[in-house]
Amino acid sequence: MDSSTNETLPNNVENKSARILPLVLKNVSYEKAGMRLIKDLSVTFNFGSLTVILGPNGAGKSLLLRLCHGLIKPSKGTVDWCGPKVSAPQRYQAMVFQRPVMLRRSVIANLSHSLKYRGINKAERTQKIDNIMQHTGLSRLAKVPARLLSVGEQQRLAVARAWSLDPEVLFMDEPTAALDPAATHSLENIIGAIKKSGTKIIMSTHDLGQAKRLADEVLFLYRGRLLEQADASQFFEKPNNDLAQSFMRGELLWWNRQELKPPEQLKERRQK
């Protein structure tokens, strides 16, 4: 699997100017069944950096990604793409989900399916697909039914599928949550290659180590609110927000803000 060479990388990126970015959210709220799950959130996403959305379970990370991608509509506030090609913003985006959605077909057919309806002719499609399979180490699995792959391979396929669409923005919802360390490592390499090829990546994770490895910029979410947005180096050094600090210490439990246990008791809990 060759993800380090730059030539023939998908969406070769010499002079990529933004087409739909920046993405601006203004006072976005999302409500379901009477509960406010995203509260008055404003943020701007810009070209160039890899943004990691960090936060404990239930913070609203998945919802935020889906709101940005357009899969759900906000109850209040606006989600606006401000670049020049805004008439069809979804065309320039792609998303990878926590559990890979595999069509009941072969690997190559899964890749072909996404590309088929984009008006790309057969020859070009085949080339694109071969290229992407090489860069994600899927070439030898081309004819295998996607459902028979291991979870790690399936997620690699999902990422390859998204990458083949040449997205300007790639959303990833906890992409390695279901994977073992080896698969996680290989996927992070691919993510790195995608970033190098010029795609803006906005991903969520609750894995601090991963965030440290990949992030350029960090958004910290807690209970549907954006509590801090900062450069990665600054955030991991010392976050401004106190809850962010607790989270970094591994102390933040989603159901309980007031009762922060002393470190010894937390250590016991983690060892159980």
């Binding site: 889906r66 991608h69 899969l71 979804q90 065309r91 985006q93 792609a94 998303m95 989900f97 959605v101 069509l103 009941r104 077909r105 072969s106 399916h113 996404s114 309806y117 039914p145 459902r147 028979l148 599928r161 669409l165």
Partner: protein, 234 residues
């Protein structure tokens, strides 16, 4: 029961002597049912999958009505189609009554709801799984429909076989719109009805055995093909 033994004997005699009359009836039965099911699939498969994908007011009502239509009494459908195709009816000028085409039309009315309702059920489950991904890549609802249908193909075989079973087994509709005319619209089921009314119960039962054997063969063939294909494609 002596009739059962005589029935098997009658069935064997029919097959061994290979009466051309029997071949004609079997062929017509298969033609009518297969064509009806094929057309019902063309209509019912997209409708079923579309009901799973599209959200619109009245969606649930349509689904419930479709489910109810699975139980349409064939004789009622036959009557309605008869009144429609009759010379005194709205489509009388087509002159379709008492032809195999009329029988096919009646069976399409009976089979399409089955195909549509069962397809909706099958594809709905798959749509739950695929929805976010398909919407993310922006392929549009009708392409989503074809994607769902293709990916559900192995489960849909059972649906199609259910439709075929209904078509080949019914007698009420084809009797009324076909007229059971010798050499023209006489099929297996109407032949059985005729022989019963002539009191030739052994022959009627014999024909019934042949009809069952036919249905069994079709289902067995479908199962084998389906099984082999599934093993190939996971």
């Amino acid at each position: 029961m002596m009739e059962i033994r005589d029935a098997f004997a009658a069935a064997m005699a029919l097959i061994i002597n290979f009466e051309s009359g029997l071949a004609e009836i079997v062929l017509l039965s298969l033609q009518v049912s297969i064509i009806a099911v094929a057309i019902a699939c063309l209509i019912g498969l997209p409708i079923g999958a579309a009901l799973a994908v599209f959200q619109f007011p009245g969606r649930t009502a349509i689904a419930v009505i479709l489910n109810a239509m699975m139980g349409l009494p064939p004789v009622v459908v036959g009557l309605i189609v008869y009144l429609t195709l009759s010379r005194s009816g709205p489509l009388g000028t087509l002159g379709l009554l008492y032809t195999p085409t009329a029988m096919i039309i009646a069976q399409i009315c009976l089979v399409t709801p089955i195909i549509a309702a069962l397809t909706r059920q099958t594809t709905e489950d798959l749509w739950q799984e695929y929805a976010e991904h398909l919407r993310s890549i922006g392929i549009g609802p009708w392409r989503a429909v074809t994607t769902l249908l293709w990916d559900s193909r192995f489960s849909l075989i059972t649906t199609i076989l259910a439709g075929f079973g209904r078509a080949s087994a019914e007698v009420g509709a084809v009797m009324i719109v076909g007229g059971n005319i010798d050499h023209v619209t006489r099929v297996m089921t109407t032949s059985i009805a005729l022989e019963t009314s002539k009191g030739d119960l052994a022959l009627a039962l014999g024909l019934g055995i042949i009809l069952l054997a036919l249905a069994l063969s079709v289902n067995a063939a479908a199962f084998i093909i389906n099984d082999a294909a599934m093993k190939r494609h996971g």
